[in-house]
Subunit: 357 residues, 2 copies
């Protein structure tokens, strides 16, 4: 099942297609459980806040909000934020409410980014359901993304912590810049490793870092712990994106909720191919270039590309790099005394590494 | 000259095309002077802040930022904010800096809205120069708009006044909702007067209200004055949009910086035609409907539509309504003791009513 939510937001009774599918699919992985069980109740609360704020008296926002809420999503960023809050001792009473708000805010920002990215990628499927741009066109979708970004900032303001909004603005600017850099190099067969890491750092790692470090801004503020958590989140974010890019080669369409090799088809060169290109002969390089030029598998089949990366072993190399970032993330947690929240955060990199969607 | 800036941001020497054109065009209107002369120095400072923050280490943002800065704009919202700040006694030292920041922020938000609106309207010209979407395509333009929105929020945070960001978020949400409502009724020949006012209130009047009332949030806060200034701004914003919609019928292309009757051509029914439609016969109604259907003047000429509104006198009726809102705005200012800032704010509605672009 594509992008199964880690936590079922509607346990009794299953109200939505997502919830029904989640129940039908049976249990989630043991790794996911070790990662999120500790904050499962807070994730359910986050889901409710997410749904509640994704609404307006403008009928289209109401309709699109329902559609987005049903679409699920792994809620990795909210889970990280809630665990970091617990790690810092913010898991009770009002502090919990504050963390839940920020968890929903981070997912709002992530959602707005996806919505605008899908326009740019001309994507038709996301998490196994039709994209908003595909359903309602680019124009409504641009405005809806704007609305969700602004709503996120408004929600973040509700607890009066100006540093939190500052952090969120920084991360959002970085993300937008990452997308701009990526778009400007779309279709380029000469994207360098450095450019690739620059892009994924901005477009993915900074929001992970923000999610993990925001709880350190809830009073009593913990600046040093915040820096450690930001480094943890950034390494985990890079790991997450490396795995995301690997899944485009290795996952089945039914798991991923979108076509495999869609990155290449959209003109995006990712690390497995960046590593491969300088090592293969001219004819093999042309195969990759032709897909980038055509933005389709008309002259070259997806299987030809898959055979190429399998022969060169770059998927394994990128997996090893992702594991290295996972290890780096875990190492940061040694700053904190052992405990249940630290343990759950230590499982997060394993969950990210072994996810299938 | 299209959309001549009220204040020349580069008096010595004229560095940009806009500045050169502004000097070549000679003096601005006497009304504009009465409106903005009092804060001319602060508007120059605002322009510098605007340019400074519209920059990034991402090359595209740098390039697009320069292009936007050169494009000018009347800077009506910053002028209103700066005058309201002066009216409340915030015109000296550090307070001035704070008002200048917010003035630039309001113009940033307005700019981001225009950038995304131009995508939706498929606009090719804005203020006499090519739109960003026309020059660089929709994708970069979506991301650039996101970046500017977020940058505006980040800038607004710099003085630590959480109420200011709250006000800006509210206004931005309203604007986006107004655009969504407008887009969903695009091409509809049965748009009602109520719907029209609902749309212009959200898409224009709320940001005017925010611009005028934000200075009341600078300590020492003045909530009652803030409410009066918000009402002033809202009435002035509606007046502004009514005049904007009138100019689409009455201005010359060389003044407006875009084609006349472009609203109708884009499928937007504005008040002069909403008032007209129930009064004319079926054949005349069909003329309007055909342009809405075709989104072009292929079957019906612009002159035929202009003849229709002139015969029915609805331009005069809308002008009278705009004057009514102008009067209402001025009346709000009686709350304040007489003085130079109040006098300048009293001229703003006249400037808005008599502008030609």
């Amino acid at each position: 099942m594509p992008d199964q939510p880690l936590v079922d937001p509607h346990p009794h009774p299953p109200e939505t297609a997502t919830a029904r599918a989640a129940l039908a699919a049976g249990s989630r992985s043991a790794l996911a459980g070790r990662f999120i069980d500790l904050v499962a109740d807070k994730l359910v609360a986050t889901e409710a806040v997410f749904r509640h704020h994704l609404d307006s008296d403008v009928p289209f926002i109401h309709k699109a909000g329902e559609y987005i809420s049903q679409g699920g999503g792994k809620r990795v960023r909210p889970a990280l934020l809630l665990l970091a809050a617990r790690l810092l001792g913010h898991d009770l009473g009002n502090d919990g409410d504050e963390a839940v708000t920020y968890a929903a805010v981070v997912e709002f920002i992530h959602t707005a980014t996806l919505i605008h990215d899908d326009i740019i990628d001309h994507a038709t499927l996301r998490r196994g359901q039709r994209t908003l741009n595909h359903l309602w066109g680019n124009n409504l979708t641009v405005l809806l993304g704007d609305w969700i970004y602004t709503k996120a900032m408004q929600m973040a303001l509700s607890h009066g912590q100006i540093e939190v909004i500052q952090r969120l603005c920084q991360a959002t600017l970085k993300m937008t810049e990452g997308e701009l850099l990526a778009f400007q190099r779309l279709g380029a067969p000469d994207l360098t490793i450095e450019e690739y890491f620059e892009i994924i750092d901005r477009k993915t790692a900074h929001l992970f870092a923000a999610a993990c470090s925001i709880p350190s801004l809830i009073p009593p503020q913990r600046p040093e712990a915040g820096q450690v958590l930001a480094r943890y989140g950034r390494a985990l974010g890079i790991c997450f994106q490396l795995v995301d890019d690997l899944l485009d080669f290795t996952a089945r369409e039914s798991e991923l909720g979108k076509a495999v090799l869609s990155d290449l088809k959209e003109g995006k060169l990712t690390l497995p191919l960046i590593l491969l290109l300088p090592r293969v002969d001219r004819a093999q390089r042309r195969l990759v270039e032709q897909v980038l030029e055509d933005r389709s598998f008309s002259r070259v089949s997806a299987q030809q590309i898959l055979d190429l990366v399998r022969a060169e072993g770059t998927l394994e190399e990128v997996t090893a790099m992702a594991e290295e970032y996972a290890t780096q993330a875990k190492r940061e947690l040694e700053f904190f005394p052992p405990g249940d929240a630290r343990e759950a955060l230590e499982f997060a990199p394993d969950f990210v590494l072994h996810r299938r969607s």
